[in-house]
């Protein structure tokens, strides 16, 4: 049985459609990454699946139940790492983890859990003194504490340093290996490529494409760019047959080293950006195929994600000392 089944899901705010007849099935044990720019309807969709938001149309089944009629037993089977949750700032990490253990039938052992998110050294530090990234890790710890069957991970690595991200990836990989179904929303496409089995791109409330991560983008990923340099001149050839291009290149220069030779396949990020751009141009369905060839020289290897990643909202201090 699929973990999540969505059919013709619709949500409107003040007459504006933010989720537009969305269909999606996520199998049990799968890690699914939902990508999309801010305001695309990602969080709204996820919050409907979590049972925190009502819907205006369609059917939704999560772990065999309609989340709009969630009960405690159902809720105990899902884990939520949201961007909007806080924890009492006056608690230490260990105190918070110990406390929330009481909410679960069989919580993960406190020390093990703190270790898994890399907060062992901070176990006795008050949450108020943690960095944004460390708080994010605590959020993750509290989200998986109850050994959920289905885990919603909403931008889990936003605000983490590279080491923290890798640590978190390891944890997610381990959860997957244990059979946890994961719905990941993220701005980081390398994260989606690394962790997910399938990827879905959402924009303006519509799913543009859903595909296995390795096939995401369809024709968009067929294109490749062969690039090399002769002296100060950089050559770039966009092609569907890079091997032939290289073979010819080598034939032309049988003895010399070809400087800076590389074959670049479109990354998940390239594909995603093209999909979103096509959607913005209003022809999401057939605008893509040729764009891979038409556009040259925009690969920009190390670009940031398309939109500025949001920092996790810092929980405001609850207690203030008198100034």
């Amino acid at each position: 049985m699929p973990a999540i089944e969505i059919s013709a899901l619709r949500k409107t705010y003040d007459g504006r459609v933010v989720v537009h007849d969305l269909d999606l099935t996520i199998e049990a044990g799968e890690c699914f990454a939902l990508l999309g720019p801010n305001g695309a309807g990602k969080t709204t969709t996820v919050e409907i699946l979590e049972g925190f938001r009502s819907r205006d149309g369609g059917t939704v089944t999560v772990l065999g139940r309609d989340p709009a009629r969630a009960d405690r037993r159902w809720r105990s089977r899902i884990g939520v790492v949201a961007q909007t949750t806080g924890a009492a700032l006056d608690l230490s990490v260990a105190e918070a983890v110990r406390h929330f253990g009481a909410y679960h039938a069989s919580p993960r052992p406190t020390d093990e859990l703190i270790e898994a998110v890399g907060l062992t050294e901070k176990a006795n530090t008050r949450i108020v003194d943690l960095s944004g990234g460390q708080r994010r890790r605590l959020d993750v710890a509290l989200g998986v504490q109850g050994r959920p069957e289905l885990l919603f991970l909403d931008e889990p690595t936003t605000g983490l340093d590279p080491q923290g991200r890798r640590q978190l990836w390891e944890l997610v990989t381990k959860l997957r290996a244990d059979g946890t179904t994961i719905l990941l929303t993220t701005h980081y496409l390398d994260e989606a490529a690394r962790l997910s089995d399938r990827v879905g791109a959402i924009a303006r409330g519509r799913l543009l494409e859903v595909a296995p991560t390795a096939e995401f983008g369809g024709e968009l990923r067929d294109g490749a760019t062969v690039r090399w340099r002769t002296g100060g001149l950089v050559h770039e050839v966009a092609t569907r047959t890079p091997t032939a291009v290289v073979r010819q290149l080598l034939a032309e220069t049988p003895d010399d080293e070809v400087e800076d030779l590389e074959i670049r396949r479109p990354t998940l990020e390239d594909i995603y950006l093209k999909l979103i751009a096509a959607a913005d141009n209003g022809d999401a369905d057939n605008g893509g195929g040729d764009a891979a060839h038409g556009e040259t020289g925009r690969p920009a290897g190390e670009t940031e994600p398309p939109s500025e990643p949001e920092l996790p909202r810092q929980p405001r201090a609850i207690t203030r000392s008198r100034s």
Binding site: F52, R72, T84, A105
Partner: protein
């Protein structure tokens, strides 16, 4: 190895989640711990009545007011009632608004926390801290300002039921008032003035029977006036009852008014309690 043959599908919480009572106990312990660590709550709700008693008691120790009792005796009753309202209504209202704004309540919701467990945790914290506060207050009043203890078991009983009813009313109204501020930023500015103005209108700092009629009328709608009057019936001699505006302690009416507010508070919470900020 054995791991290869073990069924991998059996995982996750196969047993029912912990009972609401168990989570309530965990919450009560947590709330008390957080209360003690929160300096604002300590100063503005726990210590405030005690500090006020010391200040006002020291200023006007020999004054006699209506009913032929000392001002400090009259004030002890009023500030005991105020302590209950501050520790419940004000402290809870601000704190819950803050917890909602910071997403702490959203986490509780995500964890499937029964609302009743959350409420019970708060109620337990409020009961323990209010009882401690009243105990300290009574002892300070007795030994620093010669305000006698309640004279007999009947007066002690009155003390207990007035305090309990006031705590209950203040607690549910604290939950209700936490819904008022749009965000935590203005929780203080919305909630504190309500509690402050009521202190002046309800016979805490000034003798109630000396207040202008319109103030008395407004105050008599709200719980604090009835709490102060109930506390006067505990700490003042029975003869002072004739100096009350109504000529008596009005215990029956006190119960009715406080009970009505408890019903109102529960109704508001049941209808509109939110785990999340309005977005």
């Amino acid at each position: 190895m054995t791991t290869a043959t073990e069924p991998v599908t059996v995982r996750g919480p196969v047993t029912a989640p912990p009972s609401a009572a168990r989570i309530a106990r965990a919450r009560a312990a947590l709330e008390l711990r957080l209360y003690v660590r929160a300096r604002q709550a300590m100063v503005f709700s726990f210590l405030y009545p005690i500090i006020m008693l010391v200040i006002f008691g020291s200023i006007s120790i020999d004054d006699t007011v209506a009913g032929d009792v000392t001002y400090v005796q009259y004030f002890t009753a009023g500030i005991a009632a105020t302590g209950i309202i501050l520790n419940t209504f004000q402290q809870l209202g601000i704190r819950i608004a803050n917890e909602r704004d910071a997403g702490e309540l959203a986490r509780l919701q995500a964890l499937g926390t029964p609302a009743i467990s959350y409420l019970a945790g708060k109620a337990a914290q409020v009961l323990v801290t209010t009882a401690s506060q009243l105990a300290i207050l009574v002892v300070v009043a007795r030994y620093a300002f010669d305000v006698p203890f309640p004279v007999d078991a009947a007066h002690w009983m009155t003390f207990v039921w007035v305090a309990l009813l006031g705590t209950l009313a203040g607690t549910v109204l604290g939950f209700a008032v936490s819904l008022l501020p749009k965000s935590a930023k203005n929780a203080d500015t919305v909630i504190v003035p309500i509690a402050l103005v009521l202190q002046f209108f309800s016979g805490v700092f000034f003798v109630y029977s000396d207040l202008p009629g319109w103030m008395q009328t407004i105050a008599s709608v709200f719980p604090l006036k009835w709490l102060t009057q109930g506390m006067r019936s505990v700490f003042l001699p029975d003869a002072a009852a004739s100096a009350e505006v109504a000529g008596g302690w009005e215990h029956g009416r006190t119960v009715l008014v406080l009970a009505a507010w408890i019903v109102v508070g529960i109704a508001v919470c049941a209808r509109s309690f939110r785990w999340r900020r309005v977005s």
